[in-house]
Symmetry: C2
Subunit: 405 residues, 2 copies
Amino acid sequence: MYKVNDNYLKLPGSYLFSTIAKKVAAYSQEHPDRSIIRLGIGDVTQPLAPAIIDALHKAVDEMGHAETFHGYAPDLGYEFLRSAIVKGDYQSRGVELSVDEIFVSDGAKCDSGNIQEIFSLDNKIAVCDPVYPVYVDTNVMAGRTGKYNAEKEMFEGVIYMPCVEENGFAPELPEETPDLIYLCFPNNPTGSAITRDQLQTWVDYANRVGAVIIYDAAYEAYISEEEVPHTIYECEGAKTCAIELKSFSKNAGFTGTRLGYTVVPKELKQGDVSLNALWARRHGTKFNGAPYIVQRAGEAVYSEEGKEQLKKQVAYYMKNAKTIYEGLKSAGYSVSGGINAPYIWLKTPDGMTSWEFFDYLLEKANVVGTPGSGFGPHGEGYFRLTAFGSYENTVAAIDRIKALS
Amino acid sequence: MYKVNDNYLKLPGSYLFSTIAKKVAAYSQEHPDRSIIRLGIGDVTQPLAPAIIDALHKAVDEMGHAETFHGYAPDLGYEFLRSAIVKGDYQSRGVELSVDEIFVSDGAKCDSGNIQEIFSLDNKIAVCDPVYPVYVDTNVMAGRTGKYNAEKEMFEGVIYMPCVEENGFAPELPEETPDLIYLCFPNNPTGSAITRDQLQTWVDYANRVGAVIIYDAAYEAYISEEEVPHTIYECEGAKTCAIELKSFSKNAGFTGTRLGYTVVPKELKQGDVSLNALWARRHGTKFNGAPYIVQRAGEAVYSEEGKEQLKKQVAYYMKNAKTIYEGLKSAGYSVSGGINAPYIWLKTPDGMTSWEFFDYLLEKANVVGTPGSGFGPHGEGYFRLTAFGSYENTVAAIDRIKALS
């Protein structure tokens, strides 16, 4: 008689964003006349840039003729895209990587969920708290954690690193030594960033204790401050301890187009075993390449035209971030984030819980955000708003929130 | 100190098709003047059908305007595609499924590799021998098998079900009871099919012993005989024991476009635990939806125009299959497959091993096929040719092979 993977049964309730979607749908059905503004899930709203649309059309045309048709893509990604990435995202910042250290995928969510598979189930993970739920949930599903402690809202066997106002939303080195450390900067959900020096401390620590850092740099395009690193490989020694995850979702609007990549340096080894080779094996066996047309779209992100257009797109969202940040501040809220990231993190007023504030905002202002507690227990009392709406909606949402005060 | 997943280290050598690609590249470099014909990997060569190209262009245009832009897709697939699948692939054959039993993905290779994740590591798997390598390799990587026995070319703890000439390349019920049974019909690599009655025996067996059948129906579009089932749900009781995997790669040429789906019936439960819910959780946590434009392309597969065009495409490849089958037969080879599948399975002549025949064919005829032993020990002495080349290349390849005799 077959048995199910009962690690899945440890997961409490459903995925955060499904819960939010259901709550909003229910409210919407009861109040069909209300216009709801969604600043909750981190989905973009601006259309794909013209250079990307052109590349897509051209690639689609190629797929329509036998001479230019493309079948199975190389498992690890087309050379044209991998070299555009090496040049555009690394060489340009003085970081040397080779093309076969880049693994193209269908998105950073998949990569951040799958990367744990190449590590032993014995490894202990450390995560920021609050944190993007996928890191913990996929480790739970794999069996790398204990049970869920409903009172603490934590899984047993996981090292949680609080990121709160008191430490500037930057985690401190944990007391217990982890094997795998998930870091995401600029951060989702808090919108905070750390400096090159702060990140160097983590790299040094990982090398010292023999841990691997899984560095999620999905929001790198939003960095505005000089001392904030764009890639972990700006830090000395990172190639022997860090894997970096990158997304095309937020810098180029690919949330519905699906493209990402992971960097696994060849220097990252344990004895004779190369993590680069393990990930190549995983990719080659459980994945079949990103679509040709989407990889061509990704290449266009690095063209001169594409870069110019996307700079404007990022600026558009960062104008929204400023609108939210300053609007809430002037309304008396305590806010952070929004400088190097498209997320604004606010303290809920009057001691409300995160979900109480969610309901309050949905009902009184018809604005949807994300409850901080959905990202972990230290997110309780906080709330996330995203800058990915249209400018008009963002202004309207902030006006509504201000009117509540 | 972190540890790697040492189950990966049990895997011998590299993925079959990487080995072939390297051998062909080496030969090609030594003999740059030779024109090599590839009938090895199961990749298609015909361009995407006009109805699909039109749908892609239309969807790309939508992505270029804010009003029609699409961000994150629903994790489980757009309703428009899921209902087209329910109607086109199931209702049309008298099988009732609901839309939420269909999970859209980026391809059947991923699904066939990922599906094992929702089952316990204690489960014992049964596979056909020879078999598509992904089923076994992904179970090895997860830790569901013992070590590799190099002499037997088998993993310990796996039930191998021989599929050889003597049993018509159809597996017999195993002596030891498995928990998960991987079946693929029409079969890759042997090209064999089984009848509805034969499949019913498997469904009855699985229900009796409490096993789950993972039914890979990627080659369903090539079925030409009346008594061969198009879906396992044509068999009574299949909804309580079977998961079905489907691909758009072979019926619509999506090998480089990436789309597939998995059916997990709601009736498939163990006690209170619904496998449909587990797979939804896995999909929602480790996957982020197939691209909008690709899902629109998938929808076009079910349009009247699309169906008409793809019927011709399948007929084109099946003409190749006939050319290979009859050509080899007339040259004195012992051949099977090719009637309900785009694969022809031949016995290597003169007692050659599969890899000897691979080298022989590459060197003497400049034709690339796939060694049967690459699919498992009972594939030794066999060789796979695929019908996915162009007609001209297929004819030329068979002429070259005939000339060797």
